[in-house]
């Protein structure tokens, strides 16, 4: 079973990299780009075949390692 984790800075946490990307897009002439926020995508292959158990497992991985929940939030897609 495959899982995909999206890790993003929490709303309200300043994202200087996103700001730099927004600035560079403006330099390239792209108009009308508002706030840009940058995150990570992590793909996992799991031996688990049960969706619910897989999601619980990935949630625990996020809380223990994949995200720093002080500043980041995460979303999990299964399958």
């Amino acid at each position: 079973m495959k899982a995909r984790v999206h890790v993003m800075l929490k709303d309200g946490v300043l994202d200087p990299q996103g700001q730099a990307v927004a600035h560079a897009l403006g330099t390239l002439g792209f108009q009308g780009v508002g706030e840009v926020r940058q995150g990570k995508v992590i793909d996992l292959e799991l031996a688990e075949t049960d969706r619910t158990r897989a999601e619980a497992q990935v949630r625990e991985m996020c809380e223990k390692l994949l995200a720093n929940t002080v500043i980041e939030r995460f979303d999990i897609e299964i399958g």
Partner: protein, 222 residues
Amino acid sequence: MKAAVLVFPGSNCDRDLAVAFRNAGAEVTMVWHKDNALPAGVDVVGIPGGFSFGDYLRCGAIAARSPITRAVIEHTHRGGYALGICNGFQVLTETGILPGALMRNAGLKFICKPVDLTVETADSAFTACYAKGQRISIPIAHHDGNYVADADLVARLRDEDRIAFSYAENPNGSTAGIAGILSENRRVLGLMPHPERAAEPAHGGTDGAALFRSLIGALALA
């Protein structure tokens, strides 16, 4: 006084930190990240600067889950002392031993230069040889030194006198200009500046030496 200095793949200030501890009078053992236990009788653990595990995932994230780091967490729970410098501070926040987080510098640049710090408290084993309010110059060298804390945490750190050092001029966007903080029991210090790089005259400055002198002095009395 026994000190242990952790070594992760990518640590690069481990030997400098060992020299600073030794010059202050400590007996130092280097400890590899795969070890499960600290040497017997260790008083203070030094977590050095560098780029442990290539800063993969997040700075300090992988080191914070290393076998030796579990032993460090237990050591601090027993009331043991720990000093995390730069990447070591990042490791300490990643373990949750110290609150908050360190993220990319607000200006996005890697900054490597001496900066002026204000000693915010002399009430700790790490800062006893300084005076509260003293200005000192210590080098920084980091890309991810922007200390993030919410308003509640900053208020708590202030109320509990746990801000050890602040930047005279904020170089990296850190909340409240915080450069280093203490744990609740004041026995763990994490800071982004490198006192071990300002510990003898050949370094161009010696303002960091008092930190090691403070620590060794406090532990000799304990």
